[in-house]
Point group: C2
Chain length 464, copies 2
């Protein structure tokens, strides 16, 4: 068997500080231009030159107010604040790109499913099937309060709600319109055949929807489903729904472990374990030689802010690290929030001190950092891939867009020379490009079960 080619997304966010905090102060960093379409257009075209599979756009609805119990540092260092909408950004970039996929993050806890279904169908139409959805349920209390709730819904309940939300979406996306519903026959004056369009009647625990999907079938119908949960309940959700899973981890054995767990969860849900693609979040600093790469890293570090990275980590874990002495052991209760990030981190939580955490956030973030020449970085990437069963990477930016340009100019050709990276885009939708199969959900995916909505007794007409 040929060794597999690695798949690659740029991991970004419609904001300034995303993962590697403080680098906005670097003189060549352009992330403060994130409100400008020209900035993003240039980046998207750069990624397409590098044959990236997708631009994965993260999102958060609340603010990071755990560290020092305030948002002062998040504002000063622009730690995911301000942050603009990811879907509207993806849409704005469609015309400037042809092949690049867009993985958009949306928090289902706050998006009415009937409207959200149409939003993604619209994007899938306009992009000719280049859309993925990163399913998140939210973890910030500040987001819940902003949305008028008393507080965050309990972790496992959020996933129960998410399961039902997906069911509603599958009914709308897969079941409401049959494939041949749209005839567009001018002579016969039949745009859509009425007997091929079916109402959704959903009465669940969390949602009630009674209506027809407003959009005709888009190229992929259901967008490619991304997910990143790593708790037991999150994993069960991923096993059932996710086609791509984004994981964190700082050493190959922990990552291999997660890869195995995700594939097992898919198998437990009756799916082919190899049908789920796994992406690891990483950062890279590359130059023509190792020495130059080390110099570049040292220069970047002078602008990074480890404390800002820690403030972000405080929000992720719910622990206010500012309240500990530099060398005081950090004690915490094991919560779902912590559980879901602890795996992404180098040191086991038990050994945390603020000093060690700051060291580990030397570049402002805590993703595995590959530093070296093109050959060295390619070696490391392929080592990760072959050693863990991963399918690819979500590459974060450091100094932007410089870090992606470096990666594309230096690492991509090295990977291509080894036959481990594509030399041209495949045709078709994002799902076809990623999986080499058809544009729609595979038959074994639970979403496909709703295609027969027209045959169900509930398919009698609404209204009248």
């Amino acid at each position: 068997m040929e060794p597999k080619q690695l798949q690659l997304n740029a991991f970004d966010m419609n904001c300034i500080g995303h993962i590697n905090h403080g680098l906005w102060t670097h003189p060549r960093d352009r992330s403060t231009e994130f409100g400008s379409l020209a900035y993003w257009t240039e980046l998207a075209r750069l990624l397409e030159r590098g044959l990236f599979d997708g631009l994965f756009i993260a999102d958060i609805l609340g603010v990071y107010d755990v560290y020092q119990g305030s948002i002062d540092l998040p504002l000063k260092e622009a730690i995911q604040l301000p942050v603009n909408d990811p879907l509207l950004l993806a849409s704005a970039l469609l015309g400037a790109t042809t092949h690049l996929g867009f993985g958009v993050t949306a928090n289902l806890s706050h998006e009415p499913p009937y409207l959200f279904a149409r939003r993604l169908s619209t994007l899938d139409h306009l992009s000719q099937g280049r859309i993925g959805w990163n399913i998140v349920t939210g973890y910030l209390d500040s987001a819940a309060r902003a949305m008028g709730q008393n507080g965050l819904v309990e972790h496992d309940r959020r996933y129960d709600q998410a399961d039902e939300y997906l069911e509603v979406l599958y009914k709308l996306w897969e079941g409401s319109w049959e494939d041949d519903a749209v005839l567009a026959d001018r002579a016969a004056r039949i745009h859509t055949q009425p007997d091929k369009v079916h109402p959704v009647r959903h009465q669940g625990e969390f949602y009630r929807v009674e209506g027809y999907h407003l959009s005709a079938p888009s190229p992929q119908r259901t967008p490619v489903l991304f997910q990143a949960g790593s708790s037991e309940r999150g994993l069960r959700f991923a096993g059932r729904h996710a086609e791509c899973v984004f994981i964190g981890g700082s050493n190959p054995s922990a990552v291999r472990d997660q890869v195995v767990r995700v594939r097992r969860a898919a198998e437990a849900a009756g799916r082919d374990p190899q049908s789920v693609k796994l992406f690891l979040g990483i950062s890279a600093v590359v130059a023509t030689s190792e020495a130059e790469a080390r110099d570049k890293l040292a220069e970047y570090r002078r602008h990074a802010n480890p404390e800002a990275g820690l403030a972000h980590f405080s929000a992720s874990t719910g622990i206010d690290f500012s309240r500990y002495g530099l060398d005081e052991p950090i004690r915490y209760q094991k919560t779902n929030a912590i559980e879901s990030v602890v795996k992404t981190f180098t040191a086991p939580g038990a050994g945390w001190t603020r000093r060690r955490l700051l060291e580990q956030h030397a570049l402002g973030g805590r993703y595995p950092l590959l530093v070296g020449s093109p050959v060295q970085v390619a070696d490391e990437l392929l080592h990760w891939l072959d050693d863990t069963g991963l399918d690819g990477f979500n590459l974060t930016r450091t100094v932007t867009p410089e870090s992606h340009a470096d990666f594309i100019d230096l690492v991509i050709p090295e990977l291509q020379a080894r036959g481990r990276y594509k030399t041209a885009y495949a045709e078709g939708t994002l799902r076809e490009k990623l999986f080499g199969a058809g544009p729609r959900l595979p038959a074994e995916h639970p979403g496909s079960a709703w295609r027969s909505l027209g045959a169900a007794p509930q398919a009698r007409r609404l209204g009248g």
Copy 2:
């Protein structure tokens, strides 16, 4: 005083049949391509060539199931079904245009205000201030059911809710971030000054929001506010909030009356009555000579479907016109829904029969139809303008994009020759272009009152 120049929006929708129904069957009509970005990009560039102020994108969430108690005809004739999202369409067109404004319709009854505020701020950033919002509260029972409600909220209550919704948005858009909050000072490591960002704490009858706006101030902050309500309660809402009002009417005296009523409502709300721009919905069929225009109209009519127009009108009024004999007088109860459309219609409702309604929908819609040579159409437009106090028009499409191309090639030069239409775009945001003043809401607009949020006692920090 110079006679005023007319302002012009293209009135369209992310669907096939919008106002003039049945014309999708015309061999040169391209509206069935509405899912394609290329189709819209071409249209947007055409409008920019014609120096249109904006592309006004209508929207509807439910389906038109009143006529014949079914959606069979709406599906066959694609009467605003399928219909895709307007905001994502506007965003996709930003990169292909420089000056064109986008008036996007969104139904506030179903959009959580905290998320919606960020969506429009994002669009306003990416477009450099070219965004307007057409505020609607919805009128379809089918939409309410699709959103999981038992039925539509009562008309005047919807406007109470809308008033509160706008208050929440003003707080987020105008009050949460001060103008000089963003420093982006790399040397001082201060992107945003914490003491210039204020939390919104809203506890109202309909909404509860406790949080910071997620977006930094965009060029216009509050997008240009469009509205179209014509009921007494809707008019009070418009007088308070709307900067542009879209009206219907088939004869100058009815239109003049509405213009006066809107301006009075603005005055009653403490605003300059001339600060509200009024746009009339119209259709036009133009050719180089009157005879050719008449021929073109006759040819278009062979493809239009008056019954489809009637099905649309049934949804607007709640009256199933299919249940009446051709010459049977149509009896109905005067409801808000009817009140809000009856003014847009030629004949007084009392004299309605199905035959007369079908005649009045000869081109599939019921907007005033201007037919003739460039000189004749320009004469008529200016007559409307000068006789009624209108500021401009929302021009619907007939056979698309042909009808807009005809208008641009034939009517615009005639209007320009008379000094009644601009010969180049003004610089700046949509608000600057439309009003010749600054990019922000004028001081007398009630939204401006929330700029002092930072000085209010509620401005103490959240969290901690």
